[in-house]
Symmetry: D2
Subunit: 349 residues, 4 copies
Amino acid sequence: MEPHKINVFTQNPTRPLDVTTKSIGQLVDGMLYTGFQGRKLAESVQAWDNMLKEEKLTVMMGLTGAMVPAGMRKVIVHLIKNRMIDCLVSTGANLFHDCHEALGKKHYVGSHLANDEELFRHGVDRIYDVFAFEEEFRHTDHLIANFAKTLHGRRMSSREFIALLGKKICEEGNGDESIVGSAYKYGVPIFVPALGDSSIGIGLTIARREGFDVDVDQIKDVDEITRIVEASGKTGVVYVGGGVPKNFIQQTEVVASIMGADIAGHDYAIQYTTDVPHWGGLSGCTFDEAVSWGKIAAEAKKVQVFVDATIALPIVVHALHEKKLNDKRKFPLFIWKENGCLDIDFNTF
Amino acid sequence: MEPHKINVFTQNPTRPLDVTTKSIGQLVDGMLYTGFQGRKLAESVQAWDNMLKEEKLTVMMGLTGAMVPAGMRKVIVHLIKNRMIDCLVSTGANLFHDCHEALGKKHYVGSHLANDEELFRHGVDRIYDVFAFEEEFRHTDHLIANFAKTLHGRRMSSREFIALLGKKICEEGNGDESIVGSAYKYGVPIFVPALGDSSIGIGLTIARREGFDVDVDQIKDVDEITRIVEASGKTGVVYVGGGVPKNFIQQTEVVASIMGADIAGHDYAIQYTTDVPHWGGLSGCTFDEAVSWGKIAAEAKKVQVFVDATIALPIVVHALHEKKLNDKRKFPLFIWKENGCLDIDFNTF
Amino acid sequence: MEPHKINVFTQNPTRPLDVTTKSIGQLVDGMLYTGFQGRKLAESVQAWDNMLKEEKLTVMMGLTGAMVPAGMRKVIVHLIKNRMIDCLVSTGANLFHDCHEALGKKHYVGSHLANDEELFRHGVDRIYDVFAFEEEFRHTDHLIANFAKTLHGRRMSSREFIALLGKKICEEGNGDESIVGSAYKYGVPIFVPALGDSSIGIGLTIARREGFDVDVDQIKDVDEITRIVEASGKTGVVYVGGGVPKNFIQQTEVVASIMGADIAGHDYAIQYTTDVPHWGGLSGCTFDEAVSWGKIAAEAKKVQVFVDATIALPIVVHALHEKKLNDKRKFPLFIWKENGCLDIDFNTF
Amino acid sequence: MEPHKINVFTQNPTRPLDVTTKSIGQLVDGMLYTGFQGRKLAESVQAWDNMLKEEKLTVMMGLTGAMVPAGMRKVIVHLIKNRMIDCLVSTGANLFHDCHEALGKKHYVGSHLANDEELFRHGVDRIYDVFAFEEEFRHTDHLIANFAKTLHGRRMSSREFIALLGKKICEEGNGDESIVGSAYKYGVPIFVPALGDSSIGIGLTIARREGFDVDVDQIKDVDEITRIVEASGKTGVVYVGGGVPKNFIQQTEVVASIMGADIAGHDYAIQYTTDVPHWGGLSGCTFDEAVSWGKIAAEAKKVQVFVDATIALPIVVHALHEKKLNDKRKFPLFIWKENGCLDIDFNTF
C-alpha cells in the first residue's frame, strides 16, 4: 500500500487508554482521546473548566431528576460553594429533598425490585432504588407549610421564596451542607419555575387551604432570570437532565432578544442527559437545534453527554475539583434592586 | 415427550397476527395477543376504552412534547370534543403552538438533518424535523402579550387564564379546531403548571415589563386540580410523555390524601413514553413505583407503553374513535364556585 | 407583521391529522405530514412501497429480536409470500421459534412482572412478557438435532441448511404458515450468520456430541449473499432491529466492492430500531454514517424509525398490504449454480 | 413527630457523596451509597472484585460495540494480562480493529457531525465520532486474507483461528499491546461466534474466492465454550453490551444442562448496556429474566448498569486495578486435549 496522505479528517489519532494508577482528573484527560460518550464526558469537563476561566461569564445550571435522593446533594453544594455555578434552576422536588435532609431526615438505599404494594403497606415511598418514609415526607410538607404561613400576604419570585427558605435552613443550623442553605449563604440565586409541581408546592397549598397566602409569581421568575442574562457579559449553561429547568434557561436568550438586548445565544453549553434528540422534545434536543432558535451561539462550545447524571456528576465534579484547587475565578455577585433591576459585579473568588 | 400439564402461566397462547384487510380497531385488537410494546399499545386502547365505560370517572391527560408542531393538534381536539378526556394538563408550549395555528400560522415539514446555522440566518426555528418562522412566533408572542394586557390587575389560576384565552380564540372564529378553543367550548379545564416556562410565559413577561400585570397563581392550580380529584368518584390518567404534567397529576392523590380525602390512587393509568424507569426520574418511572406512594391504586389497570407519542396517538385515538362511534358516556361537568370550590355533575354525552 | 416571504425551508406545511373513520393505509398516508417518528414511520411505508416498484431490485431484510414469540411470525410469512422481501437474514432464534410453532408448540401471553424464580420452578421461560415451556423448547432442540443427524457429513451454507429445514417443515404439513417453510416454497433465501448462537445451534451441537457432523460454513454465507448483491441491479434493505443481520447485509456492499464489483451502496434503506446512534454501535448508527463507508448510496432513500418492531411491523405491513393488493412486482428468482455462482431472473409476480 | 420505627426497608441511609481529593477506587466506593446508575456502577465493581476472590471461578466476558476504535483496546488487554477475565467472546470487528492497530494503523478523533458524503469522497469511514481510512482497512483485510491462506485446508473453531492469529501478531512484535496477542500469550481463549460477520470474515472470504479454504467451525465453538462451563466450578459473566456475545455465553448454561451437567446458572453476572428490557430482546433483558431460563442462578449477584461502555470501562477497570494491585488470584489454566476435551487447572497468579 502507498503511504497514505493524512487529510484534514485524520490529524489526531485516538490514543488507547492504558490502565495505570492515576487521579480522576488524569483519567478524564486520557478519555479526551477515546471515542463515543467517554470522550464526550471528558470534553464536558474541558468545556466547564474553560468556562470558569472566562471573564464576566455567568454559569447557569438546570437541575432535574431526583438528584438529592440519589446522593448528589453535596456535589451540588460543592458547585455552589466553589462557584462553579452561579445560578441554579431546579425542580421543586430536589429542593424539597434537600430541606428534608437538612432537617435531619434520611433517604435509604433500597432496591428497584421491591414489591411496591408491600412498601405502600409499610409507608415507604420508592424512587427507583431509593426509599423514604411517607410520614417523614409529610412532616417536611407541614414544616414548609408552617414556614409559608410566616410569609402570609407576600408576593415574590421563586428566587426570593427559596432564598428565604435557605435563610431559614441556615438559621436552623444545617445550612452549610444544604443546597438552599449554601445558595443563600454564597449568593447563588435559585429559581423553581414549576414550584407548585412539587412537595414544596404541596406545603404552600396546605397553607393556602388554611387561609394563608404566599403568592409565588412565576412571571417574575422569567423577568428576573432574563435580567441575569441581560446583565452578564457571557453565559454558560450546564444541564443535568432536561425538563423545565433546561427550557427555562434556554428561553432566557429569546426573552432577552425580544426585550431588545443584543444577545446571541449562550456561549458554552453542556448537557448530561438520558433523553435523545429523535423524540422531538426540548429535553433531548441537540444544542445545534438550539442554534436555529438563537438560544445557543453558533460558535459556542457545545457538549451533550448521554449518561445518567448519577454517574456523570461524581466524576465530572471530582475532576473539576482537582483542576480548580488553586484557581481564583471572577464570579458574578448579583445585586437585586428594589425596582426589580439587577446589577452584577464580577468578583475574584 | 409427555403431554405437558398446562400451568397457571400458560393459559393464553399468543396468536400470530395475520395480515388481512382490516380496520385500525381490528388491527389493535389483534395486537392484544402478540408481545412486547405492540401488545402494550393494544392494552392501552383496551384500558382507555374500559375507563370511558366507568361511572363517575374523570379522565385526566398530561400532555408534553411538541405535539402540536408534530401535527397532533386535532387528535387532542378530538379527545376533548368527544370527551375521551375531561381535564388536560399541558406544557405551555403546546398551547402556544395551538394558538399559533389558530391564528392562521403554520408549522412546516422540515428535516432533522438541516444546517442549523443556515436556518438561523433564514429566521427558521427547528423542532427536530419541523420548521417554523421565528418572526411569526414573535408575532404570536405579542398577540398573547396584548391579550394579557386586557387582564391587567387580575390574579387567577392557569385554568382560568387558559379558559379566557380559549374564549378569545373562539371569538376570533378559529376555536373549533383549536385545543384551547374546543376546551373552552366543551368545558374541559386546562392547567399549565409551568406557564412561565413557555412562549405564553414570554407573552406575559412582555406585558409585565410594559407595566401590565397578570398574576397566574400556580398554587391555585394545585388547589383546583386537587378539587377535581376530591370531587370525582374515580380517576383515570393518560400521560403523553412525562415531565411536569405527569408529576402534577400524580401528586393530586398525595395532596388530596394530606387534605383528608379518602383517596386510594388513580384507578386507571396509561402512559406513552420514551423515557425509562432506570434513570430514577418521575417521567419514566413505572406505575408500580407510584403504587408505593399511593398515587396509583394497587389494583388499578396500569399500562406503560414505550413509544413515541406521534406513533401512538394516531393509532390509539383512531381505534378509540372506531370503538366509541355509538357510545354514550357519562362525563363530568365541572361547576366552579365563587369560593374556589368545585361541584361535578356526571352528564350523558 | 409584514407578509412573510416563504423560503426554501417552509414550502410544505404540516397538516394536523384529523380523526375520522379511515383505513390503515389512509392513516399512514396522513402521518406523512406530521412530525417526529410518526412521520418517519409513514415515510418508511412510502419508501418500501417505492422500492417494490423498482425494476431489478432485490429487497433484503435483516430480522432480529424475538419477533416470533412476539407474534410477528405470520407478518414475516406475508412478506415472503407476497415477495415484499426477497432475501432474509435472521437470528437463529427467530427461526427456531418458527419451527417450534410449526411443530404445534405455543408461546404464551405472559407478564414482564412475573417472578422469575417461580417461573423457573415451573419450567417456564420468560421472554419479556411472553412465556414458553423449557421442556417443549428442549423437545424442539432434539428434533433439530435429529434432523441434523440426517445431514451427517455434509458441509453447506446456512442458506442451504435452512432451506433443507424449510423443506422438512413443509413435508410435515405445516410449512405454509411458517417462515422457513414459506421461504423454501417461495424461493426466498434465508441466511443465519450466527447459527451457532441459537437453539438451532444447540440442536447441531447435540448432534455433534453424538458423533454426527453438519458443517455450516459461515464463510460460504458471506460469499453467497455477496453474490446476490453482485447479481442484483439494485438493492433495498429493511432492518428490523440491528445486530448481526444488519451488519451482515451492510457489509455485502464492502465485500462486493473489494471483489471488484462496481457497487455504490444499497439504494433504499429502512430501519426500525430502538437503538440510537450515539453509543457508536452498528445497530443504531445512521444510514448517513453508512454513506461514509460506501454501504449506502449517498442518494439512497434512507429512513430510520425509532420504534419497537412489534408496533411498527403490524402497521407497516398492513399498510403495504392495502397499497399492494393489485400490484404485480418483478421479483428476483435466484438460480444457485453447482459452482457456487448465482443467476438472477426478474419475474413478474 | 414521633421517632420513626426503622423497618426492614430502611436500615441503610444513602450517604450524600462529598467532593474531596480521592482516588478512583475511593470515588467508586463512595458511590455505593448513592442511587440509580451511579450506585449500580459501584455495585458492578464490588461484584467483579468479589468474583475475582472466588475459588475455581472462570470469568467470561462478552464484548460488543466498537470498543477498539473508541480507545478501549488497552483496557481489555489489561483485563487479559491481569486475568480479570479468563475467556473472551467478541464481535469480529473488535479483533479486526485490534489487529489493525497492532499493524501500526490508527483510528482518529473525529466528529459525529461530519458530512458523510465528504468523508466518503476522502476515503474516510466514520464510526460515530471516530474516523479511519477505508484504504488502510482494506490493507488489513488483505493481510488477514494472506494469513488465512497459510491455513488452507484446515478446519478449526474460531478460538483456534484467533489464537493462531494472536500468535502471528506476537511474532510480528506487536503482540503485547494487542487483545489477540496478549490473549494468545496469557492463555485466554477468544471466541467469535459470528466471525463471518466482520472484516475478519471479509478477509476469509477473499481467501475463499481465491481458492483457499479455512473452515471456521461455528458448532465447534458452541461445543468448546460449553466445555469451559462444564469444567469450571463456578462462572462469572461480564457483558460489555449485549448482542451475540451475551447470548452465546448465556446459552452455555442451557447447553451444558442439556448435555447432562449439573449446572445451575452463572454465579455472578454484570452487564454494561445501553439497551433496555422492554423491547423484549436478549441484549437488554434483565438477569432476572435469565433466571427463568436457568442461565443465571437465582442467588447469583446480578448487576445491570445502564451506561455507555466507553464511560464504564475506564472507571471500572481503573478501580479494579487499584483494588487488585497486591492480590493473587487463582485463575483457570485451560488445557485443550486432542480429542476436543478440556481440563482446567486453577493456578495462582
